[in-house]
């Protein structure tokens, strides 16, 4: 690549901490880059005005608000909870109240996304369903059936024509928005294991993202699990090339006992992941064309969710210590790790 490289210190710069007050499970930066939303185990969502101490509490869920999304215009905020409900909010309201509540799934809601055209909301949950909703009125538009385990995540392609979903067993499906037909099924089963010793399923598509050009899908989670109940396994990312149909696993130089909780694409040809577990917590960057990590930053606390802003100049990480940390990212690619 022709871009100059930057060192670790130069590529990230701490740009604020936001103390929610309970362990965080989710975070989202709004499309305008004005606000950061954090979801905590206290069942609250807090909206922070980035760069200031201004905060507003969004109270409505009766369980953990695991999935957060903003519409493309930056006017509506959608939250999905383990209470099986989707809630519509005025993203900028000075005193936020639920505008609409939808009993959306029979079981936890684990993923929510808004389409780029501002028409639809997609949700995914433990009832093995992906559902499409009207952003305008909350009406159910389409129900997508085919997953055979809990659906962990959902994302739209940039053209809004396809919705991508990933489940507990690492099955990644692509669905046509127009008619709900499943047009592709991809194998990320490396992110799943049935642990015969503990007699339980472990893994899942913890992170899911589609690249800005629509060519790549990344699914992230844990692999090589040797002890499900102690969380002994390695963080991993599966990268799918939707054009060629090929896939490969993005690796770390040293196997980290951890989960890659969130993944996203960066316009500099990078893949960015939030990794956390017994082996530590890291912000990790891969070259989209490479296989092993390009760069990583050790984080001060376990981080279980991540959000890049629309310009990819800032990243927010949701901490187990109840603090969301924002880092400003460099304009050039980071220097490869030593």
């Amino acid at each position: 690549m022709s871009e100059p490289e930057q060192t670790e210190a130069a590529w990230t710069e701490a740009d604020g901490e936001y103390a929610h007050g309970s362990p965080l499970v989710s975070c989202r930066i709004d499309p305008t880059g004005t606000y950061l939303f954090t979801g905590g185990t206290d069942q609250r969502i807090v909206r922070w005005t980035l760069g200031s101490d201004d905060r507003a509490d969004f109270v409505g869920h009766e369980s953990w608000p695991w999935a957060l999304a903003c519409d493309a215009a930056g006017s509506t905020f959608i939250s999905g909870g383990y209470d099986e409900r989707l809630i519509w909010w005025d993203l900028k309201a000075s005193e936020p109240v639920p505008l609409r509540e939808v009993q959306a799934h029979a079981g936890w809601i684990r993923g929510v996304a808004c389409d780029p055209q501002g028409q639809l909301v997609a949700s995914a949950g433990n009832d093995h369903r992906v559902k499409l909703w009207s952003l305008a009125d909350g009406a159910l538009v389409r129900e997508l059936q085919g997953h055979e385990s809990h659906v962990y995540n959902v994302a739209f392609t940039p053209d809004g024509q396809t919705v991508v979903s990933g489940d507990l067993k690492g099955v990644v499906r692509e669905w046509q928005v127009a008619d709900g037909v499943c047009i592709a099924e991809r194998d990320a089963s490396v992110l799943y294991k049935y642990d015969g010793g503990f007699r339980a399923d472990i893994g899942g598509t913890r992170g899911l993202a589609v690249s800005a050009d629509g060519r790549y899908v990344a699914a992230s989670g844990i692999t090589n699990v040797s002890n499900a109940f102690a969380g002994v396994g390695n963080a991993a990312v599966v990268l799918f090339d939707r054009e060629s149909g090929e896939s490969r696993v993005l690796k770390l130089k040293e196997d980290l006992r951890a989960v890659c909780w969130a993944i996203d694409f960066h316009p500099l040809g990078l893949v960015v992941g939030a990794i956390s577990g017994g082996g530590g917590s890291f912000l990790v960057v891969w070259d989209l064309q490479g296989e092993t990590e390009l760069w990583k930053l050790k984080l001060p606390q376990a981080s279980r969710a991540m959000s890049l802003d629309n310009t990819a100049r800032r990243v927010a990480l949701a901490g187990y210590d109840g603090v969301a940390r924002v880092y400003r990212l460099g304009e050039a690619r980071p220097q490869p790790a030593a």
Binding site: F198, R199, D201, A228, A230
Partner: protein, 428 residues
């Protein structure tokens, strides 16, 4: 005078013991653990009381089952739901069990103060802490000794495990002797070596057994000892068990029942437990694995309790409908609970300080709770009990006086821990 085998060979002895151990864990230990008041035991045997234990191995979370604390810092993501008993709420992960709450009693103030798997399991199944000098029998072995009819063809204590092969877990019987050890049905399979080999016909087997009896009788006329008698009775018990092999065949139950209990292993094992209890087995323990959720506690409890809930509720309902619940003590146990604190892996760790169990049947007061923890479940604030209290309560429910004594090597040993007492509130 000690009586050796006639051939005098060590190999012979080992082979014979191996067979006996695999088959029954049978009775070479007669005379150990003699009850001081045998008449009382005979009366209880006549009443045909039984015990069913659902053992949730690894330590089920009390916060995800019997003592939810929603909207607190320790509560986790699950909500509490109402039950068939007004005012009693349990975790939303147990919707079917919630409808059986009028047949359950929750003990919410358990403090065993033990966070080790092995030691916790011992406390919950013997009612005592480990002592260097003495091993005490598990509840199942004690029930087999005190409740099972003399000469019963079926083992008094059967343990259905999630996987692995069948075996005898001799240590659980402690001083009662291996005769009262559990027969382990690995994955619910029948006891090993209870089917005639293909090469042996029923007729030839009968002739073979007849010859054995003749030789035994001849031998006993000259060299009768407790051990030689035990060997002979073991063969007779084994033959009786082989004749009842169908009792272990859960496929004989209806397809509808298989569907009701669930097609997973735990469903099949609980249906087998019902079959065994109906056929007179005194003590059945069904283990469900695994709840040792240091990582991803909530996902794993969805999965494990998703199996447990409907199956357990169906079993309780069936025992009640069939008139068995009155005479069957049902317990849902683990070695401990799980920490109120949620760790960074979304897990909960070992926690014996403030947790819960569930009980049913056998004339207990049902449809309520006893004991309580504080708002976020970090300590017991009302009616704290430990394994000893629970053990006393089980024995009382079964009709025993827990202060009765067994004679072990000539010294008296109280059946239950002398330092504890029963939870009177749950006894009728």
């Amino acid at each position: 005078m000690k009586c050796n085998h006639a051939c005098g060979s060590q190999e012979h002895g080992l082979a014979r013991r191996s067979f006996l151990g695999t088959m029954l864990g049978a009775g070479a230990s007669a005379g150990l653990g003699t009850l001081v008041r045998p008449a009382a035991a005979e009366e209880l045997q006549r009443q045909q009381k039984r015990v069913l234990v659902c053992y949730l191995a690894g330590g089920v979370s009390q916060l995800e089952t019997w003592d939810p604390k929603p909207r607190t810092d320790t509560g986790g993501p699950f909500r509490a739901i109402p039950t068939s008993v007004p005012g009693v709420h349990i975790s939303e992960l147990l919707p079917h069990t919630a409808q059986q709450m009028h047949r359950l009693m929750l003990v919410r103030g358990v403090n065993t103060n033990e966070n080790d798997h092995g030691k916790g399991s011992y406390i919950m199944q013997t009612g005592r802490r480990r002592e260097p000098s003495t091993d005490y029998p598990y509840m199942g072995s004690l029930a087999a000794r005190l409740l099972a009819p003399e000469g019963a063809a079926l083992p008094g204590y059967i343990h259905i495990t999630p996987g692995g092969g069948g075996s005898i877990s001799a240590g659980e019987a402690a001083f009662l002797g291996p005769r009262y050890a559990p027969v382990v049905l690995g994955n619910g399979n029948p006891p090993q070596n209870t089917a005639l080999p293909d090469a042996v016909s029923v007729t030839s087997d009968a002739a073979r057994q007849s010859l054995r009896r003749q030789q035994d009788e001849r031998f006993l006329r000259r060299r009768r000892t407790a051990l030689t008698e035990a060997y002979t009775s073991t063969y007779d018990q084994a033959a009786a068990l082989m004749a009842q092999r169908e009792v272990f065949d859960v496929s004989k139950e209806s397809e509808q029942d298989h569907e009701r209990y669930g097609t997973h292993d735990f469903g099949r094992h609980c249906l087998l437990a019902r079959r065994l209890l109906e056929n007179g087995v005194t003590f059945v323990k069904v283990s469900h694995s695994n709840y040792d959720t240091h990582n991803e506690n909530f996902n794993f409890h969805i999965e494990q309790l998703g199996e447990f809930d409907r199956t357990f509720a169906t079993l309780i309902n069936d025992l009640a409908d069939r008139g068995l619940l009155e005479s069957t003590l049902v317990l849902v146990l683990s070695e401990f609970g799980r920490t109120p604190r949620i760790n960074h892996l979304y897990g909960r760790d070992h926690w014996g300080t403030a947790w819960s169990i569930a009980m049913s049947g056998c004339g207990l007061q049902l449809g309520g709770t006893v004991g309580a923890t504080n708002d976020n479940g970090t300590e017991v604030v009302d009616r704290q009990v430990d394994g000893g209290h629970l053990f006393h309560t089980y024995l009382r429910a079964l009709g025993f006086d827990p202060t009765d004594q067994l004679t072990v090597d000539g010294r008296p040993v109280q059946i239950a821990d002398p330092a504890a007492e029963a939870i009177e509130e749950v006894l009728a």
